[in-house]
């Protein structure tokens, strides 16, 4: 029993943090909002040089061969940076899904392409009809009943669905399932879909922790700098206590996210419930952080030019992606109230 990360894992997290702080400042995020695709091939290439899209791709297929335990810290950094590039779908979901398929099942050259930064993969899931980043994807992984299909984006109709976060590129996909695109069906299809949902929700949960951390950091430094009544507003308990409450909420969501990463990486039987607890807690913590950070900033936080809303919108958007709060709460509720549920002291691990 050892609930800590290794030196290597923490070192990689720090590397990614420094990299994103340099490459992805708020000005860059705002510039991407104004660009046509909202995505940067140049930035994606640099992320690939660091190995991030191929984090979960096996080493013999050109990837980093890491596990969800390594990846969870990287996704925290992606959230902290406010980076909306399609790393949840490509790195966290598509890569391990394709790695589980044999080549005969058309994993084909996609793993190498993901690791090399040449392919973005968009993935649909059963929790919503929305597919993110279909416009830049070279491969779509879509569900139809118990089937999983690998679909060429050229063969589908994509209808953009503008959303609150200018960085979030969402689409409704019009497509017809064909026998030739089906890569898994029946029990296997269902298992792949369930694994995809767990992995997508886990990565979002980790990003939400980073988003919450960043919102809290911004609000705290603003509360130190901003003076009213002749002193920093952060010296008032009404402000302190709100921020402290958010800190408590984030720090108790964090171990749930880290445990969920372990459970997915080790294929623990309760992993879906662990992921749902993590996603629920992280989404609520980030939403509370957004709400509180705005209140602490006051009117300036309500403006478009203040950077706060970059992360507020990430909190809202990631909160909905890969299962809403309500969706995940229902999954936990079903598990806790099941007649054979194992609850109580000594049942956590």
């Amino acid at each position: 029993m050892q609930f800590i990360f290794s030196e290597d894992q923490l070192a990689l997290q720090e590397t990614v943090r420094d990299f994103l702080a340099g490459e992805c400042p708020p000005e860059r995020i705002r510039a991407l909002w104004e660009s046509e695709s909202g995505r940067s091939a140049e930035l994606w290439g640099k992320l690939a040089e660091l190995g991030i899209p191929g984090l979960l791709v096996p080493e013999d297929r050109g990837g980093m061969g890491q596990s969800e335990i390594d990846a969870v810290l990287i996704h925290e950094e992606i959230g902290r940076a406010g980076l909306a590039e399609p790393l949840v779908s490509t790195a966290a979901v598509a890569a391990p899904l394709l790695a589980e398929l044999g080549d005969a099942e058309r994993a084909g050259p996609w793993l190498e392409r993901i690791a090399g930064g040449e392919a973005i993969v968009a993935v649909g899931n059963e929790a919503s009809p929305i597919v993110a980043d279909a416009h830049v994807a070279r491969l779509l992984l879509l569900s139809h009943g118990d089937e999983v299909h690998a679909v060429d984006p050229a063969d589908v109709e994509s209808v953009a669905q503008p959303a609150t976060d200018p960085a979030q590129k969402l689409f409704r996909i019009g497509w017809k399932p064909r026998e030739s695109t089906c890569i898994a069906a029946g029990k296997r299809g269902r298992a792949l879909q369930a694994a995809a949902l767990d992995r997508g929700a886990l990565a979002c949960a980790a990003q939400l922790l980073g988003v919450g951390d960043q919102l809290l950091a911004m609000a705290s430094s603003y509360a130190v700098a901003r003076k009213q009544f002749g002193k920093p507003i952060g010296s008032f308990q009404a402000v302190k206590h709100q921020l402290a409450t958010v800190k408590v909420q984030i720090e108790y969501a964090r171990p749930m996210v880290h445990r969920a990463a372990w459970s997915v990486a080790e294929a623990i039987p309760g992993r879906s419930v662990h992921v749902s607890m993590a996603k629920l807690a992280a989404a609520e913590a980030a939403a509370q952080a957004a709400r509180t950070a705005l209140q602490v900033h006051g009117a300036i936080g309500y403006t478009w030019e203040q950077d706060l809303h970059i992360w507020m919108r990430r909190a809202w958007s990631l909160g909905n992606a890969w299962g809403t709060i309500s969706f995940h709460r229902d999954r936990v509720t079903d598990a806790v109230l099941a007649p054979d549920a194992r609850l109580g002291p000594g049942t956590t691990f």
Partner: protein, 385 residues
């Protein structure tokens, strides 16, 4: 990261489980806030001590078994799973014990720890005074050195089980000219000395185990000073702080309450609305979160890490969770919720009302949650005082 118990930890769990199954009293003891219950609980502590389970993380020479904090968490899980009695000497074994380990002289450790582990001596704590609550540095009680003794004057209050306890540990001003955090000393005081008057106070549950203690020139031997004279504040706030919090309120306690809450909901589900179901599930999740965070923190400590102001996060989380769980339970009980167990119609009310009284104290004792939020804001978020 490896979230599996080792074979040794599993073996220890089985050993503790087997012993507790054989030895935990079949009938619940009387409340340790009554004299009868207090003595029943001391008897239980003696049995626990004889079985070698009184203080598993303590060194063997002081009545423990030299376990690490992970094994302590495992033991606590089994203890609450077995519904074993509350720890009547918790102020001693959980709060003073770790401080004695860190600051006590070899003679002090040998003198106090074994009798603490066996509950031959039960301890009360003496922090609060009538004018020093959240502002603990406003302590006025004095301990003035006279040769090989301290002469103690002043008043301490809100001492849990102080009405029955044998000893009190607390902070006293050894330098009468000193201000605030300076000049305080950590002193161990027998409560049967001449010049010590213990006056019971009835608390919200109606029982008079709470006490205020008046010192009118009581003479305490100088060797009862723990740590350096004048640095009592430092001793009280020492790095053992997290360990004390962990021991006093280990996660198993809240997991056990959450499990009972889910069971209560299931028995009464047809009378509960969807919002109540949601609250119950959220409480269960929070108890899991507290458990996970505790394992994470203990892992960091065992790997050589240190815990400081983070302890304030814990205090807020468990105390507010405990309240939410009891509020939900009383709401599920509906009109039965206000009935005392002896009421004719009080079927299935369990101990929820009593638990609720106790949970109401959680955000107040061990530093109010307002003080904890100040600590988080100032020391973890960097906000100005």
């Amino acid at each position: 990261m490896d979230l599996r118990y080792t074979p040794e930890q599993e073996a220890f769990r089985r050993e503790a489980r087997a012993w507790l199954e054989r030895n935990v009293p079949k009938q619940p003891l009387h409340s340790f806030d009554t004299k009868q219950g207090f003595e029943e609980h001391r008897e239980w502590e003696k049995k626990l001590h004889a079985g070698g389970f009184a203080m598993v993380p303590w060194p063997v020479e002081y009545g423990g078994r030299g376990a690490d904090l992970l094994e302590w968490l495992v033991f606590e899980e089994e203890y609450y799973r077995a519904e074993a009695p509350g720890r009547v000497n918790q102020n001693g074994i959980f709060l003073l014990g770790p401080t004695l380990m860190e600051y006590g002289t070899p003679a002090q450790k040998a003198r106090y720890l074994p009798k603490m582990a066996s509950s031959d001596e039960v301890w009360a704590q003496g922090w609060s005074e009538p004018n020093a609550g959240s502002d603990m540095a406003a302590i006025q009680a004095t301990a003035i050195r006279e040769g090989d003794h301290y002469r103690i004057r002043g008043q301490k209050t809100w001492a849990s089980r102080g009405a029955f306890a044998h000893w009190m540990f607390g902070l006293f001003r050894t330098d009468p000219e000193s201000k605030r955090h300076q000049g305080l000393s950590f002193i161990l005081v027998p409560l049967d000395l001449p010049g010590v008057l213990v006056r019971p106070i009835r608390k919200l549950n109606g029982k008079a185990a709470f006490a205020e203690v008046f010192f009118d020139g009581a003479r305490v031997p100088a060797e009862n000073l723990l740590g350096p004279e004048g640095d009592g504040w430092g001793v009280a706030m020492s790095t053992a702080g997290f360990e004390r919090g962990l021991m006093l309120r280990s996660p198993a306690r809240f997991q056990s309450t959450a499990e009972k809450l889910v069971a209560l909901y299931r028995e009464n589900a047809e009378r509960c609305d969807a919002s109540l179901r949601r609250r119950v599930v959220e409480c269960w999740i929070a108890a899991e979160a507290y458990t996970l965070e505790t394992y994470r923190t203990v892992s960091r400590l065992l790997a050589g890490g240190r815990i400081g102001a983070e302890a304030s996060l814990n205090k807020i989380f468990w105390s507010e969770l405990d309240l939410r769980m009891h509020e939900a339970a009383l709401e599920i009980l509906g009109w039965r919720g206000e009935l005392l167990p002896e009421a004719e119609l009080a079927t299935g009310v369990g101990a929820w009302l009593d638990g609720y009284y106790f949970a109401l104290a959680g955000p107040i004792y061990a530093g109010t949650n307002e003080i904890q939020r100040n600590v988080i804001a100032e020391r973890l978020l960097g906000l100005p005082r």
